[in-house]
């Protein structure tokens, strides 16, 4: 896994974005951007090349699953690895996300180790 890749965090809750950013930094990522909702995420994706998306399930306006579906319907964006962040006990959501084509999912609360493990799997290491 190339730690220089550009990661996009999508979460409406600023604290959660910060936590995710910290964890990604712990893993060794340096190139991190974030967005507070689906629309901003889409703009970010159009603006520059993103290599990985970590997106919260639970967001107003455009929930994570809708963003995922939008991306999957877009020829240029559909291949960007998309990792869904969900809460525990939301099993239905996880299944829905998997059906819609996520590369992986992580369940809150998570540690840098679990995230690193999941991401390594996504990038085939």
């Amino acid at each position: 896994m190339d730690l220089n890749m550009k990661v996009l965090i999508v979460d409406d809750f600023a604290t959660m974005r910060r936590i995710l950013r910290n964890i990604l930094k712990q893993i060794g990522f340096t190139n991190i951007v974030d967005a507070d909702d689906g629309d901003t995420a889409l703009k970010e994706l159009k603006k520059e090349k993103i290599d990985l998306i970590l997106c919260d399930w639970n967001m107003p306006e455009m929930p994570g699953i809708d963003l995922l579906k939008t991306l999957k319907a877009d020829e240029q964006l559909k291949d960007i690895p998309f990792v869904m962040v969900t809460a525990e006990a939301q099993k239905d959501n996880i299944i829905k996300a998997v059906k819609s084509g996520v590369s992986s999912y992580i369940v809150k609360p998570f540690t840098a180790e679990t995230v690193s493990e999941k991401l390594n799997k996504v990038f085939g290491d």
């Binding site: 409406d12 809750f13 600023a14 604290t15 959660m16 910060r18 936590i19 910290n22 507070d36 909702d37 639970n58 967001m59 107003p60 306006e61 809460a87 099993k91 996880i94 299944i95 998997v98 059906k99 819609s100 084509g101 996520v102 590369s103 992986s104 999912y105 809150k108 609360p109 799997k121 996504v122």
Partner: protein, 729 residues
């Protein structure tokens, strides 16, 4: 038929291939298989083979378990797909399939034991004990502290915002958007607190989220006791979150030790009761409440048969059977409070902001001192002139920006009142509706904080005493539901906040009676109506129980007044018997700057706050008189008002001894007027208020100092103090 069989067979083949190659951690591959199985499930309905369909179902749920990490063994899958192929072969050959799939079904249906709810509640109790032994969180890193503080701020903001949603929801339980907003907030708090090791916050948020999830699924209707419990959970969360903030600030434990177990148990009781009742009553309740027609409900139930996993509430909303209008209005509401507003902000310590404002104030002063210095004034250099002009422009721009940074919309303060009114009216057995206008009006951050308590006080008065009970209102020909209107707007450099109720109004006679008894007035004819009503702001009225009972006002209103005066604002009361009462608060835009009338008395210069100035004129001999026992008086617009000689008050030497050779500025304070005698009006100027320092803080009649353009100090007059001096003489 054969076409369909072909399709099914191809589909199974590709599934089989995927299964053989399957890595249980390959999420995309698992997703593909689930989707294929979904198609297969649909298609299998065509061939009417119960065993086949059952097997597909079992395989699908097994794959889902693998996705969730609850199963890792692929063998049952391989066997299951194998059996599928066998059955299909039989069907293709039009033979009866006689095999036994029960064994493989058992293997696929392996169920991971889940701890039941009772045990989980128990677990809460034991966890708490462990925490009690936990040492204060000294080992938190700086980054963790910062994140926790972020969490505190963000959660509190969100919790405040959802209070309104919850009240909307209480009024209209079909308001799905409000419900989702509330759910999301609890959900997020739960999620983030789990990272920050805020165990109790996490536990409570988790259980409240469960309850709300049931409400979303339509298993529970949020009303009465259920809403109350959500409110309670919100309050408890706020308390614990604020506790966490204190813990961070004082470097002590983040856990305030609030026992959440009783609340959690009550929530769980509601949840489990909902589990028992199941779906059916919800439909009935919705029909009873008029939210859905019986036909729609029947349709929804019909659809539910085809989609067994779905809850009826969900279906009804999806079918738009449940009030699209309510959904639309709620959508608008949600936009207003959307969490987007809180983002893209930097949080800055208010102390730093105050410092910045202070420094820019100094800069403005330094700037004007520079401009007025002799060297500059006599310099003939155009370039210097131009540069100075630019510097002045930048300085004033900087000042405006610095000031605006402290401004926040009054909305959050207003929103807190929504909850207050709900609780108060419930307690008092009254019906009160709250209306708000101008919530976006911006106001100094420091003022907002100081405004909260007085607002609460006035609203409490309006609800407790102003608004009549429903029966009484009906008799008076009013709507049973009382109305309180919160209004905020700008007016002439001030922010006006109004609290208007449509209640019974003040009882003038009782106030006069009470005031006479308290020795505040002797003869009512001396007073205008407005002056009489404003008597309730006098300290003596604060314990006036009798007046409170009869006329309905007067409890602690002096506290309100004092708070407003501290903010250099004013509070007035307008009332019409039987029609209602309006409190009008007028506040300065900012506390750091005052718009002042610069006046000269002898060689000294003073600043009179413009908001208290009514007019100024040179009195004629006829207007001036002395009244026995009251001293010097002036006749202004048909009224006799006391005259204050500023030179004598502050013991400086004035120019002229006779009023008709000087100037008078009429000022108003607490609804009463007085005339200040002075020598010259120098103009209007915005000055930055400077504290006089601890040693000179309590000089009667002086509110503070300001550095003037020429570097000299001007004293800002304090009307309350001067009034007191007049009274004492």
């Amino acid at each position: 038929m054969s076409e369909m069989l072909e399709k099914i067979s191809k589909n199974i083949e590709s599934i089989a291939l995927e299964v053989v190659m399957l890595d249980v951690q390959d999420i995309p591959a698992l997703g593909k298989i689930v989707n294929c199985l979904g198609v297969l499930e649909e298609d299998s309905k065509e061939i009417d083979q119960p065993a086949f369909s059952e097997l597909i179902q079992a395989i699908k749920s097994y794959i889902e378990k693998i996705i969730l990490g609850e199963a890792a063994d692929v063998t049952p899958l391989e066997e299951g797909v194998d059996s599928l192929q066998t059955i299909l072969r039989h069907v293709s050959n039009q033979e009866e399939y006689g095999g036994d799939i029960s064994q493989i079904l058992d293997r696929l249906k392996f169920k991971k034991a889940e701890p039941d709810e009772a045990q989980r509640v128990q677990a809460v109790g034991t966890k708490e004990k462990e925490e009690d032994i936990q040492s204060p969180d000294e080992d938190l890193s700086e980054e963790d502290r910062a994140i926790t503080l972020d969490f505190v701020m963000e959660s509190l903001e969100n919790l405040e915002a959802i209070e309104v949603s919850l009240i909307d929801l209480e009024e209209d339980s079909s308001d799905i958007d409000s419900l989702n907003t509330i759910f999301r907030t609890f959900h997020t708090i739960k999620g983030v607190s789990s990272f920050l090791n805020l165990q109790r916050i996490n536990t409570l948020a988790h259980h409240a989220e469960n309850l709300l999830d049931k409400a979303r699924g339509g298993e529970i209707v949020l009303e009465g006791a259920t809403v109350d419990i959500v409110f309670e959970s919100m309050d408890a969360l706020k308390k614990m979150i604020m506790g966490a903030r204190q813990g961070i600030e004082n470097r002590t434990s983040l856990d305030i030790g609030l026992d959440v177990a009783p609340l959690v148990n009550r929530i769980e009781e509601l949840v489990s009761r909902a589990d028992l009742i199941g779906d059916k009553p919800l439909g009935e309740i919705l029909v009873q409440g008029g939210a859905v027609t019986p036909d729609d409900l029947a349709k929804g139930l019909e659809r539910q048969k085809t989609e067994p996993g779905k809850k009826i509430g969900q279906i009804l909303v999806e079918e738009k059977s449940a009030e699209p209008k309510a959904v639309a209005s709620a959508l608008r509401e949600q936009k207003k409070f959307s969490s987007r507003q809180i983002d893209l902000q930097v949080k800055v310590d208010t102390k730093k902001l105050d410092n910045l404002v202070d420094m820019t104030g100094e800069l403005v002063i330094a700037m004007s001192m520079l401009r007025q210095s002799q060297v500059i004034l006599t310099a003939q250099d155009q370039k210097l002139e131009r540069n100075l002009g630019q510097l002045a422009q930048i300085t004033s721009g900087l000042q405006t920006t610095a000031m605006s940074m402290r401004m926040v919309p009054i909305k959050s303060t207003f929103q807190k009142m929504v909850r207050l009114i709900r609780d108060l009216s419930k307690n008092a057995g009254k019906q009160v509706q709250l209306e708000m206008t101008g919530e976006d009006t911006e106001i100094d951050r420091n003022v907002v904080d100081e405004l909260y308590e007085p607002l609460v006080h006035m609203i409490r008065n309006s609800v407790d005493h102003g608004i009549e009970p429903p029966e009484e209102r009906k008799k008076a020909g009013k709507n049973r539901k009382g109305k309180i209107h919160l209004r905020a707007y700008h007016q002439g450099g001030h922010i006006i906040v109004e609290i208007a109720d449509d209640g019974r109004g003040l009882n003038k006679d009782r106030i006069i009676e009470k005031a006479k008894a308290g020795g505040m007035i002797t003869e009512e004819s001396e007073f205008t109506d407005s002056e009489i009503y404003n008597l309730i702001f006098q300290p003596g009225f604060s314990t006036a129980e009798k007046v409170t009972d009869v006329s309905g006002r007067g409890v602690g209103m002096d506290v309100v007044k004092k708070a407003m005066e501290k903010l250099r604002g004013r509070v007035e009361i307008n009332t019409r018997p039987g029609e209602g009462t309006t409190f009008v608060i007028s506040l300065p835009l900012t506390l750091a700057i005052i718009e002042g009338m610069l006046v000269r008395v002898g060689a000294e210069r003073y600043i009179i706050p413009v908001f208290s100035v009514l007019e100024s004129f040179r009195p004629t001999k006829e207007q001036y008189s002395t009244v026995e026992g009251k001293g010097e008086m002036l006749l202004s617009r048909g009224r006799l008002i006391p005259m204050v000689r500023l030179d004598r008050t502050f013991k400086v030497k004035g120019d002229a001894a006779d009023p008709w050779e000087s100037l008078v500025v009429i000022v108003e304070h607490e609804g009463r007027q007085m005339g200040l005698l002075l020598d010259e009006l120098l103009g209007k100027e915005e000055v930055v208020i400077k504290s006089m320092g601890a040693a000179m803080q309590n000089i009667n009649g002086i509110a503070g100092g300001a550095i003037m353009g020429d570097g000299r100090v001007g004293l800002i007059l304090d009307m309350a103090g001067i009034w007191a001096i007049v009274q004492n003489n």
